[in-house]
Symmetry: C2
């Protein structure tokens, strides 16, 4: 375990999201090192690139050798960046050449312009999905549950809300969530509002110890947060899911991204249902 | 322009989010080609990897040569995948060797386990940010605006809600948004609830034509959606922002990710304020 953190730079002529995502996928393989991350996005002129080189070179004079990741697509920007003394992992150039040769076509090699609100179709469907998610968060509204692509069912604090928002925002899915309260858990029947929608449901559980810890932070020393209460709710929720063949996902061992991927994967294997959307 | 789409596979022993993000960053450089994308995540055994190889090899017999991107970190999985006849862009192996040599340490080379709800601190802060965003969406609640890291101000349909959710979900920021209605736009004063919070505000605008199109889809042929009304609201909003030195972002030319990155960048250059959070 080293004490000084390694300075890490993510450089891009666009948002830098790809550089960050891919760079972090590599860095996560070094759990014993500490990193001090800095994102420098939207590098759009050679002059800006030269300023970045100055920052990198300054970091080279520090106690720990820094590391930079870049996804700059424009040749002029990349050429300037590569004049730095700092080691740079270039996710673009090498792979771009290979992709060009496989596809038999030349890449544009321009800074990626993601679609703005200008892409009205995509913007509207994303907006509708987010608005739907907000309206149906935590069973607030039971209107239009029929329009849901996915209904997340779980006891309180098992991760319904962030997973709902992630699926809406990243994938444009209509996701409702339904909180299982004690009354719902007295039998293994599906609660009435979702009784006819079992095939769109996904059940979330957690491990009792973790759920109790999460709830403690919300209402310390309450019955609600007690290990006994958490254990009971989780056992009953699990029984309810299994009775109805509802897929179960454990949110203690899965991140929001992993849960979302599992749900998408399961949806992909199901016969596509007719959606109630306009 | 070629007619048949190119089959593209994103392969991973984890969620595949890095493979998708990085792969798409390359594919976006080929706007004239069409791609048929398929994500195959969580490849966790050699047997599963062999099944994937069968899928890839089948695609090789189709009319268009397919292309695969992989971020598999486990050597055994990657070795099996690379036995396919399909061209595979491996984002991991090559860069991993380089990163190991720069860092002077060996990477774990295991499938990335993202943090689940098990990482309670991170989970709770993310949850709080999302709950805060939902509570303060579209000026629904003016409670606790003082706790906001960022307040997005804009006329209706300029992209406040998705940007709010993105910042909350991906960056754990407390983001409120405040809709400028006609009454607010009669003067260039900041509306009373946010009058003392100008330095946390970001103003969104759009181009009138696009805003009108977006509003048309919501309320066709209304005054609300008319080009005249949109032009007026946008001009007045812009004047209001400029009067108070509020940074302005155009959501027609910027994606949600780009707007979020710009906001983070601006926050990074400001003297950090004392946050009202617990």
């Amino acid at each position: 375990m080293q004490d000084e953190p390694v300075p890490v730079f993510f450089l891009s002529d666009s948002t830098g999201i790809s550089a960050e995502t891919m760079g972090n996928a590599l860095l996560i393989q070094f759990p014993d090192l500490r990193f001090e991350r800095r994102l420098i996005p939207f590098i759009s002129t050679e002059e800006e690139a030269r300023k970045v080189v100055a920052i990198l070179d300054e970091a080279m004079d520090g106690p720990v050798t820094p590391l930079a990741f870049t996804t700059a697509a424009t040749d002029e920007i990349r050429k300037v960046l590569l004049t730095s003394r700092c080691p740079i992992i270039d996710f673009f150039e090498l792979h771009m050449q290979r992709v060009e040769s496989i596809l038999g076509a030349s890449g544009a090699r321009v800074a990626a312009r993601l679609h703005g609100v200008g892409d009205i179709q995509r913007y509207n469907s994303r907006m509708q999905a987010i608005e739907y998610a907000i309206e149906h968060d935590d069973g607030q509204s039971l209107r239009a549950l029929d329009r849901a692509d996915v209904i997340l069912v779980a006891p309180s604090r098992c991760g319904k809300t962030p997973t709902t928002m992630y699926l809406a925002l990243q994938h444009g899915l209509f996701v409702a969530n339904y909180p299982l309260i004690e009354d719902d858990l007295e039998t293994t029947d599906l609660p009435r509002p979702i009784a006819h929608l079992g095939e769109r449901c996904f059940g979330l559980i957690a491990t009792p110890g973790r759920l109790s810890e999460v709830r403690q932070q919300r209402r310390p020393n309450s019955t609600y947060a007690s290990l006994e209460q958490c254990t009971k709710e989780l056992r009953r929720a699990d029984a309810l899911y299994r009775t109805h063949g509802i897929p179960v996902i454990n949110s203690t061992t899965r991140s929001v991204e992993e849960m979302s991927t599992l749900i998408l994967q399961t949806l992909g294997t199901r016969p596509s249902k007719e959606r109630g959307r306009p």
